[in-house]
């Protein structure tokens, strides 16, 4: 017995919460520098450029690309095993279960666009460094702005609801009280992160 399914599922859970959670926090942290204006974000982006290239690329591949591909591809397999039914069983947790999968589908498409365009095409192929001005120009299109806000909110919800289910999957929160406390904390975190996203996205229209 090698229990491949068990280890893949647990790896999927760890990879989503710890690794991709870190990536999400990094994105929110760096992007929130836009609130300080063009210099704020550009300084933060230049600081990241100080990381030696081989280490930076290594981090991007090992810390983002591989975990994201694994979590995404195995996640699609998991999502296909569910038949969402909140219309008949409209409990909060069941809605969250369905939303976890709907946000996942949206994120698969959104992230292909986001990584494919900004990282691979703009930064990789054309060699243009990402800057406040570049993003400001990118966000001139209101459709792009709406899709980016929804993309961020989807990722934030997926991560925060993931905290609650992670705690159940690893047997950390067993009883209803502890599960409720964790889900309240994670939803507060979700609201906070969504608000920060709205503020830093708004800053492109202020400066």
């Amino acid at each position: 017995m090698i229990h491949t399914t068990f280890y893949l599922r647990r790896l999927h859970s760890l990879c989503g919460l710890l690794v991709l959670g870190m990536v999400l926090f990094e994105h929110i942290f760096t992007n929130s520098m836009a609130i300080l204006g063009p210099e704020g974000l550009n300084t933060a982006l230049e600081m990241m450029e100080l990381i030696p290239k081989p280490i930076f690329i290594g981090l991007e591949i090992g810390g983002i690309a591989i975990p994201l591909l694994f979590h995404g591809i195995y996640g699609i397999y998991i999502a296909l095993q569910a038949k969402n039914n909140p219309q008949n069983y409209g409990y909060v947790r069941n809605w969250n279960f369905a939303l976890q999968r709907w946000t996942a589908w949206f994120l698969v498409v959104f992230l292909i666009w986001h990584v494919g365009y900004l990282r691979c095409y703009v930064k990789g192929v054309t060699g243009t460094p990402i800057s406040f001005e570049l993003l400001q120009n990118f966000f001139q299109n209101p459709v792009v702005v709406v899709l980016y806000v929804i993309g961020m909110w989807a990722a934030i919800f997926h991560f925060c609801n993931g905290i609650s289910t992670f705690c159940m999957t690893w047997g950390i929160t067993k009883g209803p009280r502890s599960q409720k406390v964790i889900s309240c904390i994670s939803m507060l975190l979700c609201a906070g992160m969504c608000l920060i996203t709205l503020v830093f996205m708004g800053s492109y229209f202020v400066y």
């Binding site: 017995m1 229990h3 491949t4 399914t5 068990f6 280890y7 599922r9 647990r10 998991i78 296909l80 095993q81 569910a82 038949k83 969402n84 039914n85 219309q87 008949n88 069983y89 409990y91 947790r93 069941n94 279960f97 369905a98 976890q100 609650s164 289910t165 159940m168 999957t169 690893w170 047997g171 929160t173 067993k174 009883g175 209803p176 599960q179």
Partner: protein, 248 residues
């Protein structure tokens, strides 16, 4: 004229036949439940259009929420027909078979997948003899209440029907059989086979297929705290996995 209660019943003539709806009216009486209504329809199987049809097939046995046989989908929710009071249901009342299971005919389903799952998780205790009363191993008094709670599971299948992860699209054995593993792991003799049961739960279709929608607990007619025991089993399989890795 007595007040009528309208039933919309999803019928199916054979396992592979196409389902269709038929409507029936039943005379209202105080305390009327869905099983009693189905019995009335059986006595006089005439649809609202006045057409005489073959009586509706369904299953029931104890009529007091103990056997689990009459589980069906009533107004979209899986529940026991014997304790579904007409007074508490939105009219017209829609009855459907629990399609997570193979439909045999009308509302009659084949629930054997749950019994197959119980075989898989070793839902029994290996005995090699019997004891005199005073020598017998005793139930842990601190977990006896939990064991009693889980032992009331009647394999009705409500939790499997409500679980979004149980169905033809997935191989999840479902909440009820999974949690039974915990019952037998609590037993003073059953606990000897606990590693065996936990290893089975780590296989494909076992506890890892649980997606924490928590519908199972919400619909359980026996109020078994399924999600709590699923979380406990998650804890147990994680520890078992560490043992599997480091004990060798």
């Amino acid at each position: 004229m007595a007040e009528k209660v309208r039933f919309i019943i999803e019928r199916q003539d054979a396992p592979d036949a196409k389902p269709y709806n038929q409507e029936f009216d039943v005379d209202y009486r105080p305390g009327l439940n869905v099983v009693a209504s189905l019995m009335e329809i059986q006595k006089n199987p005439v649809t609202v259009d006045g057409k005489k049809v073959p009586p509706v097939v369904w299953e029931c046995n104890c009529l007091e929420k103990v056997c689990g046989a009459c589980m069906m989908v009533i107004n979209g929710k899986a529940q026991q027909a014997c304790c579904a009071l007409v007074d508490n249901l939105k009219k017209p009342i829609k009855l459907q078979p629990a399609r997570t299971f193979p439909v045999i005919r009308d509302l009659l389903i084949d629930r054997s997948r749950m019994f197959e799952a119980l075989k898989r998780i070793q839902g029994w205790i290996e005995l090699d003899g019997s004891w005199e009363n005073r020598d017998a191993p005793i139930q842990n008094p601190y977990t006896a209440r939990t064991a009693y709670e889980i032992s009331r599971c009647m394999t009705c299948g409500c939790c499997l029907e409500a679980c979004p992860n149980v169905g033809p699209q997935s191989d999840f054995i479902g909440p009820a059989p999974t949690v039974q593993a915990y019952l037998f792991n609590l037993h003073p003799l059953g606990k000897f086979d606990a590693p065996k049961r936990l290893n089975v739960l780590m296989e494909k279709g076992g506890i890892t297929s649980c997606g924490n929608s928590q519908n199972c607990e919400a619909v359980c007619p026996k109020s078994i705290k399924l999600t709590k025991y699923l979380a406990q089993l998650n804890r147990d399989v994680n520890i078992q996995a560490l043992k599997n890795i480091f004990d060798n």
